[in-house]
Structure formats: C-alpha cells, structure tokens
C-alpha cells in the first residue's frame, strides 16, 4: 500500500495508527519530556512521508520509522545541549521530571533517568531500547546502524556507569 501512489495516503495512515504509540514511547525515553517527544514523532512522520520514495520495502516499516525517530531524537538532544551551554544553569533532570505533570515516577525513578541522561547519546539510547523496551540487539542494530558487538559493549558500559552512579550515592 505504501509503495502504490493510489493507496499511499491510506497506507501511511495505517502505519501511523499502528506504530505511532510504539515510536512515541521509544522517543519519550530518550528526550524525556512529552512536548519534545511529540515534536519528534510529528517530525518523524513528516520526514518519512516526504522520503517515502526512498523506502524500498526491503526493511520493515517499523524499523525504518524507528531509525528516523531515533535520529530525530538524538538531533534534538544535541540541539538542547548546545542551547544549555549558552543559557543559565538548568535544574537537574530528576527535579525537572518530578515537577513534570506527565511523569508519574518516584524520586528513585527520576534519579535513574538522571543517571541515564548523563550517558553519551549512543549508550543512553542503547540502554533505553534494551533495558526498558527489551529489544534484541539485532533489532537495535538495524535501527541504529551499529554492529551488535558494539551495541553489547555500549550496553555493558552504560549498565556499569549507572550502577556506579547509585553505589556512590548509597
């Protein structure tokens, strides 16, 4: 349906309905706030729609959309980091989350998100996709375009850093 010009719009709508929520949660765990996640998801679908001719159908629609979404999310993080370097000191991730009406976690869960947010982008993304989404390394590899071996190494380093973050606090 997506490849046929007559049915592209219907096919795309079906894909948005089917994968929109799943993509949102992947993105939300990377960018943390609802507004940023919503922007990223909207941009992801817009970019996918404009680049539909490049989707040859040789990969799964979800994998293709997920790759675009993760790239968009990482782009947003980089933009936010640049913005932070020139603005005044921001409140900690944990305190921002605890003040967020769309965060329903405990203080400990907010601290976990803070520990994850301190990781480099790739480790952070791999940890979210592996730990929370419980995706296989082969799936993550297709979405990030990185080898499984490199992803395993990134995940192990991320887990070690997060556990050290809490052991130092305990």
């Amino acid at each position: 349906m997506l490849l046929n010009p007559e049915t592209q719009r219907q096919g795309f709508e079906a894909a948005v309905r089917q994968y929109g929520e799943q993509l949102y949660w992947q993105v939300r765990k990377i960018v943390l706030t609802h507004d940023d996640a919503d922007d990223v998801v909207q941009n992801t679908f817009l970019k996918a729609w404009n680049a539909l001719d490049n989707f040859g159908g040789d990969s799964k629609v979800l994998t293709w959309l997920s790759r675009i979404a993760i790239n968009e999310a990482l782009d947003l993080l980089r933009k936010n980091k640049r913005r932070l370097t020139v603005s005044d000191e921001e409140p900690s991730v944990a305190s921002s989350l605890l003040a967020d009406p769309y965060f329903d976690g405990t203080e400990t869960e907010a601290l976990l998100q803070e520990a994850i947010a301190q990781l480099p982008d790739v480790q952070r993304t791999v940890f979210q996709l592996r730990y929370f989404e419980e995706l296989k390394y082969s799936d993550i590899s297709q979405r990030l375009g990185t080898s499984e071996g490199a992803l395993k190494a990134s995940y192990h380093i991320a887990v070690k850093k997060i556990s050290e973050f809490f052991k130092l606090r305990d």
């Binding site: 719009r9 949660w25 943390l32 609802h34 001719d53 887990v159 809490f166």
Partner: protein, 116 residues
C-alpha cells in the same frame, strides 16, 4: 550480569512517563493533517539493458553496411596498386643511359656538341 540485576532489583522496568489524556487517540489525525500532498514522482527516462544491446547491434550493422556500400575514394583498387608497384620498379634502359651519360668525359661532350 551483576550490575544489570542491581539496577532491575532497585528500579524495576516500569515506564514512569505518562501522556495527556486522549493523546494517542488524536495522534494519527494530527500527523495526517500536517502531511502535504505528495507530488507524483517525475518519470525517469531510461532504457532496459536489452534495448541498449539492440541499439548497439543496429549501429554496428549500419556502420558496416555503409563501409561496404559507399565508394571510398581514398581506398585504392587492386589495379591501381599494381600500377604503382610497376612504376616504382627500376627501368634497366634508363639506368644504362644514365650510366653512359655520367661516364662521358670532356672530349666526348665536345664531340657531341659539335654534332649540333
């Protein structure tokens, strides 16, 4: 992995994030409303490899036929070639006359001139 167990025991894997009420119900409509109309993709003019091969064979056939049929002035015929070869061969009579002439001494020259 020991560290992973430490994290999962301490925090679990619960999703602590929420969304505004009705967000996912409206997401599809919101996304679809912002999409522009797609322009039909420009049709690319291209030839399949079999057509390229056919075109090459036709071009070869036409050029061969032209070379065989059209008279070529710069190409000498067999008769012309033989004539040129014959002309280029040394003539014995000519050599003899030339040799005689070269070997004339002054006396003989004067004798020849006095005949005229």
């Amino acid at each position: 992995m020991e560290e992973e167990k430490y994290i999962s025991d301490k925090f679990g894997r619960r999703n602590p994030f929420t969304v505004p009420e009705g967000y996912f119900e409206q997401l599809t409509a919101q996304v679809m409303n912002q999409l522009p109309e797609r322009r039909p993709k420009a049709r690319r003019v291209w030839m399949r490899p079999v057509w390229w091969a056919a075109a090459a064979v036709c071009a070869l056939f036409v050029s061969t036929a032209a070379w065989l049929v059209i008279p070529n002035e710069s190409k000498p015929s067999q008769g012309q070639v033989a004539e040129v070869i014959q002309q280029s061969q040394p003539d014995d009579a000519y050599f003899d006359a030339a040799a005689d002439y070269v070997m004339l001494d002054n006396q003989e020259i004067y004798a020849c001139l006095s005949d005229y």
